[in-house]
Protein backbone atom coordinates (compact mmCIF):
# COMPACT_ATOMS: atom_id res chain seq x y z
CA UNK A 1 0.00 0.00 0.00
CA UNK A 2 1.21 3.43 -0.92
CA UNK A 3 -0.08 6.52 0.86
CA UNK A 4 0.90 9.81 -0.75
CA UNK A 5 -1.13 13.00 -0.95
CA UNK A 6 0.64 14.54 -3.93
CA UNK A 7 -1.38 13.11 -6.83
CA UNK A 8 1.44 13.41 -9.36
CA UNK A 9 4.04 11.65 -7.27
CA UNK A 10 1.46 9.13 -6.06
CA UNK A 11 0.48 8.13 -9.57
CA UNK A 12 4.07 7.98 -10.71
CA UNK A 13 5.10 5.68 -7.89
CA UNK A 14 2.00 3.56 -8.27
CA UNK A 15 2.77 2.90 -11.90
CA UNK A 16 6.43 2.27 -11.21
CA UNK A 17 5.75 -0.26 -8.47
CA UNK A 18 3.10 -2.04 -10.46
CA UNK A 19 5.50 -2.22 -13.40
CA UNK A 20 8.11 -3.74 -11.14
CA UNK A 21 5.80 -6.53 -10.08
CA UNK A 22 4.36 -5.14 -6.86
CA UNK A 23 0.58 -4.83 -6.97
CA UNK A 24 -0.04 -1.54 -5.22
CA UNK A 25 -3.03 0.38 -3.90
CA UNK A 26 -2.87 4.14 -3.52
CA UNK A 27 -4.37 6.05 -0.59
CA UNK A 28 -4.27 9.84 -0.64
CA UNK A 29 -4.62 10.66 3.03
CA UNK A 30 -3.98 9.08 6.41
CA UNK A 31 -7.59 8.27 7.14
CA UNK A 32 -7.91 6.40 3.88
CA UNK A 33 -4.66 4.56 4.55
CA UNK A 34 -5.96 3.20 7.84
CA UNK A 35 -9.19 2.11 6.22
CA UNK A 36 -7.37 0.40 3.38
CA UNK A 37 -5.03 -1.30 5.83
CA UNK A 38 -7.93 -2.69 7.86
CA UNK A 39 -9.76 -3.85 4.79
CA UNK A 40 -6.90 -5.30 2.80
CA UNK A 41 -3.92 -7.42 3.52
CA UNK A 42 -0.68 -5.77 2.51
CA UNK A 43 2.89 -6.96 2.50
CA UNK A 44 4.49 -3.54 2.58
CA UNK A 45 3.40 -0.03 3.49
CA UNK A 46 4.82 3.23 2.17
CA UNK A 47 3.70 6.36 3.99
CA UNK A 48 4.23 9.98 3.18
CA UNK A 49 4.84 11.85 6.44
CA UNK A 50 3.15 15.17 5.77
CA UNK A 51 -0.42 14.53 4.79
CA UNK A 52 -3.77 16.17 5.42
CA UNK A 53 -6.09 14.80 8.15
CA UNK A 54 -3.61 12.30 9.58
CA UNK A 55 0.18 12.41 9.25
CA UNK A 56 2.30 9.38 8.43
CA UNK A 57 3.68 8.87 11.93
CA UNK A 58 0.20 8.68 13.42
CA UNK A 59 -0.89 6.26 10.74
CA UNK A 60 2.15 4.10 11.46
CA UNK A 61 1.41 4.05 15.17
CA UNK A 62 -2.17 3.03 14.60
CA UNK A 63 -1.08 0.27 12.26
CA UNK A 64 1.58 -0.92 14.68
CA UNK A 65 -1.01 -1.19 17.43
CA UNK A 66 -2.60 -4.01 15.45
CA UNK A 67 0.21 -5.36 13.37
CA UNK A 68 3.84 -5.47 14.34
CA UNK A 69 5.19 -7.18 11.27
CA UNK A 70 4.31 -5.48 8.02
CA UNK A 71 7.25 -3.29 7.02
CA UNK A 72 6.68 0.46 6.89
CA UNK A 73 8.79 2.90 4.90
CA UNK A 74 8.42 6.66 5.30
CA UNK A 75 8.76 9.21 2.53
CA UNK A 76 9.29 12.79 3.51
CA UNK A 77 10.48 16.16 2.37
CA UNK A 78 11.87 16.97 5.79
CA UNK A 79 15.23 15.49 6.63
CA UNK A 80 15.46 16.69 10.19
CA UNK A 81 17.30 14.35 12.51
CA UNK A 82 14.45 14.34 15.03
CA UNK A 83 11.97 13.45 12.34
CA UNK A 84 14.01 10.53 11.13
CA UNK A 85 14.20 9.16 14.65
CA UNK A 86 10.51 9.75 15.11
CA UNK A 87 9.94 7.57 12.09
CA UNK A 88 11.86 4.68 13.60
CA UNK A 89 10.17 5.18 16.95
CA UNK A 90 6.78 4.98 15.29
CA UNK A 91 7.73 1.49 14.15
CA UNK A 92 9.12 2.33 10.73
CA UNK A 93 11.68 0.22 8.92
CA UNK A 94 13.18 2.84 6.67
CA UNK A 95 13.04 6.54 6.03
CA UNK A 96 13.70 8.21 2.69
CA UNK A 97 14.01 11.91 2.01
CA UNK A 98 12.55 13.54 -1.09
CA UNK A 99 13.73 13.84 -3.73
CA UNK A 100 14.74 10.21 -4.05
CA UNK A 101 15.37 7.88 -6.92
CA UNK A 102 12.72 5.30 -7.63
CA UNK A 103 15.41 2.69 -8.13
CA UNK A 104 16.65 3.31 -4.63
CA UNK A 105 13.12 3.03 -3.28
CA UNK A 106 12.74 -0.30 -5.04
CA UNK A 107 16.13 -1.50 -3.76
CA UNK A 108 15.13 -0.60 -0.22
CA UNK A 109 11.76 -2.30 -0.54
CA UNK A 110 13.43 -5.46 -1.83
CA UNK A 111 16.05 -5.58 0.87
CA UNK A 112 13.49 -5.12 3.64
CA UNK A 113 11.14 -7.70 2.15
CA UNK A 114 13.97 -10.18 1.83
CA UNK A 115 14.50 -10.02 5.56
CA UNK A 116 10.90 -9.83 6.62
CA UNK A 117 8.98 -11.89 4.12
CA UNK A 118 10.76 -13.38 1.12
CA UNK A 119 7.47 -15.01 0.11
CA UNK A 120 6.45 -11.84 -1.66
CA UNK A 121 9.66 -10.66 -3.31
CA UNK A 122 8.99 -9.49 -6.83
CA UNK A 123 12.14 -10.61 -8.54
CA UNK A 124 13.78 -13.97 -9.05
CA UNK A 125 16.44 -13.53 -6.45
CA UNK A 126 17.17 -16.77 -4.72
CA UNK A 127 16.62 -16.87 -1.04
CA UNK A 128 19.10 -19.50 -0.02
CA UNK A 129 19.97 -19.98 3.50
CA UNK A 130 22.60 -22.12 5.09
CA UNK A 131 21.46 -24.16 8.02
CA UNK A 132 24.41 -26.03 9.47
CA UNK A 133 25.60 -28.20 6.60
CA UNK A 134 22.32 -27.83 4.76
CA UNK A 135 21.34 -25.27 2.20
CA UNK A 136 17.70 -24.38 2.48
CA UNK A 137 16.22 -23.13 -0.77
CA UNK A 138 12.93 -21.61 0.13
CA UNK A 139 11.85 -20.81 -3.39
CA UNK A 140 12.65 -24.25 -4.70
CA UNK A 141 11.28 -25.93 -1.60
CA UNK A 142 14.45 -27.91 -1.23
CA UNK A 143 16.82 -28.88 1.48
CA UNK A 144 20.25 -29.73 0.18
CA UNK A 145 23.00 -31.63 1.95
CA UNK A 146 26.03 -32.29 -0.21
CA UNK A 147 24.62 -33.91 -3.32
CA UNK A 148 21.45 -35.03 -1.59
CA UNK A 149 18.40 -32.99 -2.37
CA UNK A 150 15.21 -33.39 -0.40
CA UNK A 151 11.98 -31.93 -1.68
CA UNK A 152 9.94 -30.24 0.97
CA UNK A 153 6.18 -30.05 0.95
CA UNK A 154 4.59 -26.62 1.18
CA UNK A 155 3.87 -26.88 4.88
CA UNK A 156 7.32 -28.23 5.67
CA UNK A 157 8.82 -25.44 3.63
CA UNK A 158 6.92 -22.63 5.26
CA UNK A 159 7.45 -23.96 8.73
CA UNK A 160 11.17 -24.39 8.20
CA UNK A 161 11.26 -20.91 6.79
CA UNK A 162 9.70 -19.43 9.89
CA UNK A 163 11.93 -21.47 12.16
CA UNK A 164 14.96 -20.41 10.19
CA UNK A 165 13.95 -16.77 10.31
CA UNK A 166 13.68 -16.95 14.07
CA UNK A 167 16.68 -19.22 14.46
CA UNK A 168 18.05 -19.39 17.98
CA UNK A 169 14.95 -17.64 19.19
CA UNK A 170 11.42 -18.67 19.83
CA UNK A 171 8.99 -19.15 17.00
CA UNK A 172 5.71 -18.76 18.78
CA UNK A 173 3.09 -21.43 18.22
CA UNK A 174 0.22 -19.09 17.65
CA UNK A 175 2.23 -16.85 15.34
CA UNK A 176 3.30 -19.79 13.20
CA UNK A 177 -0.23 -21.14 13.15
CA UNK A 178 -1.73 -17.84 12.14
CA UNK A 179 0.94 -17.28 9.51
CA UNK A 180 0.90 -20.70 7.90
CA UNK A 181 -2.50 -22.15 8.71
CA UNK A 182 -4.40 -18.88 9.07
CA UNK A 183 -5.95 -19.84 12.35
CA UNK A 184 -4.71 -20.95 15.74
CA UNK A 185 -6.91 -23.84 16.82
CA UNK A 186 -6.44 -27.25 18.35
CA UNK A 187 -6.39 -29.27 15.13
CA UNK A 188 -4.03 -26.98 13.26
CA UNK A 189 -1.81 -27.10 16.30
CA UNK A 190 -1.69 -30.88 16.21
CA UNK A 191 -1.00 -30.69 12.50
CA UNK A 192 1.93 -28.40 13.13
CA UNK A 193 3.31 -30.84 15.69
CA UNK A 194 3.26 -33.50 13.01
CA UNK A 195 5.28 -31.22 10.75
CA UNK A 196 7.75 -30.45 13.49
CA UNK A 197 8.35 -34.19 13.72
CA UNK A 198 8.90 -34.38 9.97
CA UNK A 199 11.37 -31.50 10.00
CA UNK A 200 13.25 -33.08 12.88
CA UNK A 201 13.71 -36.20 10.79
CA UNK A 202 15.00 -34.15 7.88
CA UNK A 203 17.41 -32.20 10.01
CA UNK A 204 18.72 -35.23 11.88
CA UNK A 205 21.48 -35.57 9.30
CA UNK A 206 23.28 -32.66 10.96
CA UNK A 207 23.49 -32.94 14.70
CA UNK A 208 24.30 -29.29 15.19
CA UNK A 209 20.73 -28.56 14.18
CA UNK A 210 17.97 -29.11 16.63
CA UNK A 211 14.39 -28.04 17.05
CA UNK A 212 13.63 -27.70 20.70
CA UNK A 213 10.31 -27.09 22.32
CA UNK A 214 9.61 -24.23 24.67
CA UNK A 215 6.71 -25.52 26.65
CA UNK A 216 3.54 -23.55 26.11
CA UNK A 217 5.33 -20.98 23.93
CA UNK A 218 6.62 -22.49 20.73
CA UNK A 219 9.72 -23.93 19.09
CA UNK A 220 13.31 -22.90 18.72
CA UNK A 221 15.64 -23.90 15.92
CA UNK A 222 19.16 -24.12 17.22
CA UNK A 223 21.54 -23.42 14.37
CA UNK A 224 25.17 -22.33 14.26
Amino acid sequence: MLCEDDPNLGQLLLEYLNAKGYTTDLATDGQEAIKAFKRGSYNFIILDVMMPIKDGFTVAQEIRAEDKHTPILFLTAKSLKEDTLKGFEAGGDDYMTKPFSMEELLARINVILKRSNPFVLADEEEVDDSLGNFVFQYKKQKLILGDQETKLTTKENELLFLLSKHRNGILERSFALKTIWGDDNYFNGRSMDVYIAKLRKHLKADDRLEIINVHGKGFKLIAP
Copy 2:
Protein backbone atom coordinates in the same frame (compact mmCIF):
# COMPACT_ATOMS: atom_id res chain seq x y z
CA MET B 1 32.13 -5.48 13.12
CA LEU B 2 32.89 -1.94 12.09
CA CYS B 3 35.24 -1.17 9.23
CA GLU B 4 36.22 2.48 8.89
CA ASP B 5 39.54 3.93 7.77
CA ASP B 6 39.15 7.35 9.35
CA PRO B 7 40.62 6.73 12.82
CA ASN B 8 38.64 9.53 14.48
CA LEU B 9 35.26 8.50 13.18
CA GLY B 10 36.10 4.83 13.71
CA GLN B 11 37.00 5.33 17.33
CA LEU B 12 33.95 7.49 17.94
CA LEU B 13 31.56 4.95 16.48
CA LEU B 14 33.29 2.09 18.25
CA GLU B 15 32.81 3.75 21.60
CA TYR B 16 29.24 4.71 20.84
CA LEU B 17 28.22 1.21 19.77
CA ASN B 18 29.95 -0.41 22.72
CA ALA B 19 28.20 2.04 25.03
CA LYS B 20 24.88 1.08 23.46
CA GLY B 21 25.42 -2.58 24.22
CA TYR B 22 26.88 -3.82 20.95
CA THR B 23 30.28 -5.36 21.41
CA THR B 24 32.17 -4.09 18.40
CA ASP B 25 35.49 -4.77 16.71
CA LEU B 26 37.12 -2.15 14.53
CA ALA B 27 38.93 -2.90 11.28
CA THR B 28 40.69 -0.06 9.47
CA ASP B 29 40.87 -1.39 5.94
CA GLY B 30 39.08 -3.86 3.72
CA GLN B 31 41.72 -6.57 3.95
CA GLU B 32 41.53 -6.49 7.71
CA ALA B 33 37.75 -6.59 7.60
CA ILE B 34 37.74 -9.82 5.59
CA LYS B 35 40.24 -11.38 7.96
CA ALA B 36 38.21 -10.37 11.00
CA PHE B 37 35.04 -11.66 9.40
CA LYS B 38 36.56 -15.06 8.71
CA ARG B 39 38.00 -15.31 12.19
CA GLY B 40 35.11 -14.00 14.20
CA SER B 41 31.41 -14.48 14.24
CA TYR B 42 29.58 -11.20 13.83
CA ASN B 43 25.92 -10.32 13.94
CA PHE B 44 26.19 -7.10 12.00
CA ILE B 45 28.71 -5.51 9.67
CA ILE B 46 29.25 -1.80 9.03
CA LEU B 47 31.48 -0.94 6.09
CA ASP B 48 32.89 2.33 4.95
CA VAL B 49 32.82 2.44 1.16
CA MET B 50 35.97 4.34 0.36
CA MET B 51 38.88 2.61 1.97
CA PRO B 52 42.48 1.88 1.07
CA ILE B 53 43.45 -1.56 -0.32
CA LYS B 54 39.88 -2.86 -0.65
CA ASP B 55 36.72 -0.78 -0.93
CA GLY B 56 33.53 -1.56 0.96
CA PHE B 57 31.60 -2.96 -1.99
CA THR B 58 34.30 -5.51 -2.72
CA VAL B 59 34.46 -6.50 0.92
CA ALA B 60 30.69 -6.95 0.94
CA GLN B 61 30.77 -9.15 -2.14
CA GLU B 62 33.46 -11.36 -0.66
CA ILE B 63 31.51 -11.69 2.55
CA ARG B 64 28.30 -12.45 0.67
CA ALA B 65 30.04 -15.24 -1.22
CA GLU B 66 30.32 -17.09 2.07
CA ASP B 67 27.51 -15.69 4.15
CA LYS B 68 24.18 -14.49 2.90
CA HIS B 69 22.72 -13.76 6.26
CA THR B 70 24.66 -11.23 8.29
CA PRO B 71 23.33 -7.72 7.68
CA ILE B 72 25.65 -5.19 6.07
CA LEU B 73 25.30 -1.42 6.31
CA PHE B 74 27.37 0.95 4.19
CA LEU B 75 28.69 4.30 5.29
CA THR B 76 29.84 6.70 2.65
CA ALA B 77 30.60 10.29 1.83
CA LYS B 78 29.31 9.92 -1.73
CA SER B 79 25.59 10.06 -2.19
CA LEU B 80 25.48 9.34 -5.89
CA LYS B 81 22.48 7.42 -7.02
CA GLU B 82 24.59 4.78 -8.80
CA ASP B 83 26.66 4.26 -5.69
CA THR B 84 23.65 3.68 -3.51
CA LEU B 85 22.34 1.09 -5.92
CA LYS B 86 25.77 -0.51 -6.11
CA GLY B 87 25.59 -0.93 -2.35
CA PHE B 88 22.33 -2.79 -2.52
CA GLU B 89 23.55 -4.89 -5.43
CA ALA B 90 26.61 -5.88 -3.43
CA GLY B 91 24.27 -7.40 -0.88
CA GLY B 92 23.95 -4.46 1.49
CA ASP B 93 20.96 -3.92 3.74
CA ASP B 94 21.25 -0.18 4.20
CA TYR B 95 23.24 2.74 2.97
CA MET B 96 23.92 5.90 4.96
CA THR B 97 25.53 9.06 3.70
CA LYS B 98 27.99 11.04 5.81
CA PRO B 99 27.48 13.09 7.78
CA PHE B 100 24.90 11.10 9.68
CA SER B 101 23.65 11.10 13.22
CA MET B 102 24.76 8.26 15.45
CA GLU B 103 21.24 7.92 16.78
CA GLU B 104 19.99 7.28 13.30
CA LEU B 105 22.72 4.73 12.73
CA LEU B 106 21.67 2.95 15.91
CA ALA B 107 18.00 3.09 14.93
CA ARG B 108 18.79 1.56 11.56
CA ILE B 109 20.95 -1.16 13.11
CA ASN B 110 18.17 -2.03 15.52
CA VAL B 111 15.47 -2.13 12.92
CA ILE B 112 17.51 -4.36 10.62
CA LEU B 113 18.50 -6.70 13.42
CA LYS B 114 14.90 -6.97 14.51
CA ARG B 115 13.97 -8.28 11.09
CA SER B 116 16.99 -10.44 10.49
CA ASN B 117 17.57 -12.09 13.80
CA PRO B 118 15.65 -10.73 16.74
CA PHE B 119 17.88 -12.56 19.15
CA VAL B 120 21.09 -10.63 18.87
CA LEU B 121 19.50 -7.32 19.81
CA ALA B 122 21.55 -5.36 22.27
CA ASP B 123 19.66 -6.36 25.36
CA GLU B 124 20.16 -10.09 24.80
CA GLU B 125 21.78 -12.04 27.55
CA GLU B 126 25.01 -14.02 27.70
CA VAL B 127 24.93 -17.48 26.24
CA ASP B 128 27.34 -20.02 27.68
CA ASP B 129 28.41 -20.02 31.22
CA SER B 130 30.61 -22.26 33.31
CA LEU B 131 29.20 -23.38 36.61
CA GLY B 132 31.78 -25.38 38.53
CA ASN B 133 32.56 -28.30 36.26
CA PHE B 134 29.40 -27.74 34.30
CA VAL B 135 28.88 -25.68 31.19
CA PHE B 136 25.46 -24.13 31.17
CA GLN B 137 24.19 -23.39 27.68
CA TYR B 138 21.21 -21.18 28.13
CA LYS B 139 20.32 -20.94 24.46
CA LYS B 140 20.43 -24.67 23.94
CA GLN B 141 18.78 -25.41 27.26
CA LYS B 142 21.57 -27.77 28.18
CA LEU B 143 23.77 -28.53 31.10
CA ILE B 144 27.00 -30.21 30.11
CA LEU B 145 29.37 -32.12 32.34
CA GLY B 146 32.25 -33.72 30.47
CA ASP B 147 30.57 -35.68 27.73
CA GLN B 148 27.25 -35.87 29.54
CA GLU B 149 24.59 -33.57 28.24
CA THR B 150 21.41 -33.01 30.18
CA LYS B 151 18.48 -31.33 28.51
CA LEU B 152 16.79 -28.81 30.72
CA THR B 153 13.11 -28.03 30.54
CA THR B 154 12.14 -24.43 29.91
CA LYS B 155 11.39 -23.69 33.54
CA GLU B 156 14.56 -25.39 34.76
CA ASN B 157 16.50 -23.41 32.20
CA GLU B 158 15.04 -20.03 33.10
CA LEU B 159 15.44 -20.62 36.79
CA LEU B 160 19.03 -21.78 36.49
CA PHE B 161 19.70 -18.78 34.30
CA LEU B 162 18.46 -16.38 36.96
CA LEU B 163 20.33 -18.20 39.72
CA SER B 164 23.48 -18.16 37.67
CA LYS B 165 23.14 -14.48 36.89
CA HIS B 166 22.85 -13.74 40.61
CA ARG B 167 25.39 -16.37 41.64
CA ASN B 168 26.72 -15.99 45.16
CA GLY B 169 24.04 -13.42 45.76
CA ILE B 170 20.38 -13.65 46.51
CA LEU B 171 17.87 -14.37 43.81
CA GLU B 172 14.70 -13.03 45.35
CA ARG B 173 11.64 -15.27 45.30
CA SER B 174 9.21 -12.67 44.10
CA PHE B 175 11.59 -11.41 41.42
CA ALA B 176 12.10 -14.90 40.03
CA LEU B 177 8.40 -15.60 40.17
CA LYS B 178 7.48 -12.43 38.37
CA THR B 179 10.22 -12.94 35.80
CA ILE B 180 9.57 -16.58 34.99
CA TRP B 181 5.96 -17.20 35.99
CA GLY B 182 4.67 -13.67 35.50
CA ASP B 183 2.99 -13.57 38.86
CA ASP B 184 4.03 -14.07 42.46
CA ASN B 185 1.37 -16.20 44.07
CA TYR B 186 1.22 -19.22 46.34
CA PHE B 187 0.92 -21.89 43.66
CA ASN B 188 3.64 -20.52 41.43
CA GLY B 189 5.81 -20.31 44.51
CA ARG B 190 5.28 -23.97 45.28
CA SER B 191 5.98 -24.76 41.65
CA MET B 192 9.26 -22.92 41.87
CA ASP B 193 10.21 -24.89 44.98
CA VAL B 194 9.67 -28.06 42.98
CA TYR B 195 12.05 -26.76 40.33
CA ILE B 196 14.63 -25.81 42.91
CA ALA B 197 14.56 -29.45 44.02
CA LYS B 198 15.04 -30.58 40.41
CA LEU B 199 17.98 -28.25 39.88
CA ARG B 200 19.58 -29.45 43.09
CA LYS B 201 19.45 -32.98 41.75
CA HIS B 202 21.05 -31.88 38.49
CA LEU B 203 23.80 -29.96 40.20
CA LYS B 204 24.57 -32.70 42.73
CA ALA B 205 27.20 -34.08 40.35
CA ASP B 206 29.50 -31.23 41.40
CA ASP B 207 29.64 -30.74 45.14
CA ARG B 208 31.10 -27.26 44.89
CA LEU B 209 27.73 -26.15 43.59
CA GLU B 210 24.89 -25.62 45.98
CA ILE B 211 21.55 -23.87 46.02
CA ILE B 212 20.87 -22.60 49.48
CA ASN B 213 17.73 -21.04 50.82
CA VAL B 214 17.66 -17.63 52.40
CA HIS B 215 14.59 -17.85 54.55
CA GLY B 216 11.83 -15.54 53.48
CA LYS B 217 14.03 -13.89 50.84
CA GLY B 218 14.98 -16.32 48.11
CA PHE B 219 17.76 -18.61 46.95
CA LYS B 220 21.46 -18.32 46.49
CA LEU B 221 23.54 -20.33 44.06
CA ILE B 222 26.96 -20.94 45.52
CA ALA B 223 29.41 -21.33 42.68
CA PRO B 224 33.17 -20.92 42.42
